[in-house]
Symmetry: D2
Subunit: 282 residues, 4 copies
């Protein structure tokens, strides 16, 4: 036989889900996007088109809606665990499942001097995220919480110097530049944690450590951010960070007869640096 | 000759500009995107390739940087006016010029119990905007301020009923639905105004009136929002609103054996309704 | 009363429609996105929330599907006219309606030495477009056909020199540069035309004239393209062109010890020039 | 010490590169986007901000331009290998490097009955891709060629039935549906290959096998596509396929008084199925 199936995975992506908890006094809103992926022995499905174990991705979508209704959402870690545990036990159950949820955050509109009970304005681009992996029979559960698209910028306190040079190096050393990035961070826990409180504290620490660090490079800042989270959040075992370097270039105004002592910059989208690192406790 | 040039316009789009005002105690940050368009008699440029009056779009870009440096940015209305007045007097001056600026907003990071002096986190998707039109010799100046991508959602207080029905109507009447939109608003002034304060107040009023209105349709809410701004901001002459109706559909869970008393919705991107209207004082 | 409604418009955007004409031998495929907008006297809807004339945007969507089924699609100009004429006569009929359709093009997959009867591969990013405006009682019908996102690039035959200079001009004159743009063109007809053949010929002429023109500026090329269409397509009355100048910058390799006689360029997305013009016959 | 750095990687993303080979008779055009990533022992850079081994990402970008000029581009596999071999030997050389290149394809414009020597029109959304990994000293070189965003659709010859059902299953079985996907495929070679010819043949085979297969599921088609490539291209060792299921839903026109025997469909973007699989020879 010429071909072997050595890996496979399938599921449903971007199931959009908005839930309203309609309390007497005020409504609570959740705005979620859910991805589900099954892995397992789907050899005969691939080879022969035998669908007897191929649980439809449409049913995955329905399951998201049904379980969100039946159990409620709670923290996204809770919904992801509920879904993962449900799927590893469903018809044509996979060997393992991955559930991802991204939450967009909304704030209450301030109106008439108070937070409105049922009207909301979207928060920033950032999203709270979770990824849960689970195996059949409850094996190998893993929760990875995180944040994406948290845009930050500092106008000083960032340097880049002392790097190696060769014939293709034209970059000048600098002891003061703009540092801007879109933080993507995710972390795993030693066990169950107070999901919401832990996430909020992690977000604060990411922002604080970014702001306060005297940066010699993006790598240097990445490490400081990760170290700070591990130091202050004992629930966290490991943290992964991904920091694009969104270059802000000082505009050379000399040809226009003007100086530019770090006042006018052009923000660029491409190319961009990309710095990734993972830190583990211990 | 077979062809006449009956309209023309040219310019530079998406000039990205980040400025830092480096005070002793703290830095101020502006994050702008500028568009410039010239209109005028460019007949010979089109017909014969005579570029003697075609001021380069590259010079438009340089002018944005140079004038931001020389005059400072201030409120975006001020920068747009400075640019427009400069361009109508430049080499190969156009008959009229349009300058658009969109400002992305950043907040200071909270660190150690205080607002950080030089580290920032991006605000929401919303952008503050301005469009200035100006003619040669200072003629016909027009300032239109606005806001874009201000996402709002209310979980109740919105109905849609009493509409006409025909053979192609399947929509059910509803006295309670989610209303979600991405507000785009722009307004013109009777004269010079306190740009920043006026914009902040307009934003608050848009949010408040969206939150508090008992909506019978998006049109109904659009009118209430516009009327409120005209009533409370005497500086404003006319307001234009553009409200996409971002449909949130109640998921029918009955086939899954569950009820859904307005708890679980699916957010959809397309198709979407689009409601536009302009209100004028008097 | 403080506020007057001076303009208004509403409708449905991005109705996605794929139709299959299932012939015995082979299938025909159309892939369309439809926008509908109504204008008229909707004063009481805005002021009082009186929806008696507000034909639902959901019914607009249904009408697109129903009429595509009942009448067939044909050329997109035909479907747009069918829809526009239907809407100006519907319940709560507007004073005028605008229907836009964008068609994505698919080609048959070549398999086994022949064009496959029912399998397709997407064409380029370009879309064929139409915009129809119609008034009540068949008044003021206007058909504007066009093309969008037709990306073209020429590696020589383009110059830009002889332009005015001032203190903010740093651009060098060039007699040979890359010219790249994403053509957006639309044209109106003197009367009914052979829509499909006319569109195909217009596309060919846009490409040919772009390729063959000795360009002194984007404006110069824009005019040549428009003039060519008016000269060779007598059905066309007026043509509007919108040509972003997608700058390709020669990379300065001298600091790296290499020459670069127009071999290596960096493609940039922003900022970009934007050149617009309209030509009319006669 | 609380934190260990357990993984890290950094580099430059989206270096845009357009090259022109200026032959006497005609020009050849390449349009590439290059990503570079270094991995290695950058512990002291992270911990202490010691940049002595941190080769700047700006120099990576310069290296792309310089080597494209010095060596020429050739097939993208060749450029990626040149770059990877250069980087593992550069200052502060990493333990391993990954180079990715995506090529956008352009066709010559047909003008005056011939292919134009220096004017081009963009091909479809599809991109030709390559990923090269290389270790220090020439170790562990790996070439993975591929294609992305190849959009295909078949109007018949696709079924989905016989799948497991549970309380959350509402999907109807079907023996005839639209199947649409955006093919992402990548494959590794047993050794050096005729890169360009092999890629073109792989593309043809992907299209043909998609078109001709009697599909019982996306998995079934994925396997048929992979098996076909392994059978007909002996150079290929392993192939990875990623097939989003872009659902086209038959519109229910019964409430509008019309039948719909698979004529009118709505194309949806989300949610979507996602099917991934890897096949290996032997």
């Amino acid at each position: 036989m010429a071909a072997r199936l050595v890996a496979n995975r399938y599921g449903k992506q971007t199931v959009r889900l908005v839930t309203v908890d309609r309390g007497a006094d005020r409504h609570e809103l959740k705005d979620l996007t859910v991805d589900v992926a099954f892995s397992g022995d789907y050899e005969s499905a691939h080879r022969e088109g035998d669908n007897r174990r191929v649980y439809p991705t449409d049913s995955m979508k329905n399951s998201v809606y049904a379980l969100a209704r039946r159990q409620g959402v709670g923290e996204i870690e809770e919904l992801a665990l509920t879904l993962a545990r449900h799927f590893v036990a469903c018809e044509g159950a996979p060997d393992s499942v991955e559930v991802r949820i991204a939450e967009r955050r909304w704030s209450r509109i301030e109106a008439g001097g108070r937070a409105h009970p049922h009207a909301f304005v979207a928060g920033g681009a950032e999203r709270r995220t979770v990824r849960v992996e689970a195996g059949a029979g409850g094996a190998a559960e893993r929760v990875e919480s995180g944040i994406e698209d948290l845009l930050v910028l500092k106008t000083t306190g960032s340097a880049f110097a002392g790097f190696p040079r060769d014939a293709f190096t034209t970059l000048a050393e600098t002891d003061d530049r703009i540092l801007a990035t879109s933080i993507e961070a995710s972390w795993t826990y030693g066990g169950a944690a107070s999901w919401g409180a832990c996430w909020a504290r992690a977000r604060d620490l990411l922002l604080e450590s970014f702001a306060e660090h005297e940066s010699r490079s993006v790598q240097h800042t990445l490490y400081a951010m990760g170290e700070r989270l591990l130091a202050e959040l004992p629930e966290i075992e490991e943290i992964r960070l991904r920091l694009p370097n969104r270059h802000h270039l000082r505009v050379d105004l000399a040809p226009l007869g003007l100086d530019n002592p770090d006042r006018i910059f052009v923000a660029t989208d491409e190319p961009y640096g990309l710095i990734e690192g993972t830190l583990r406790r211990g």
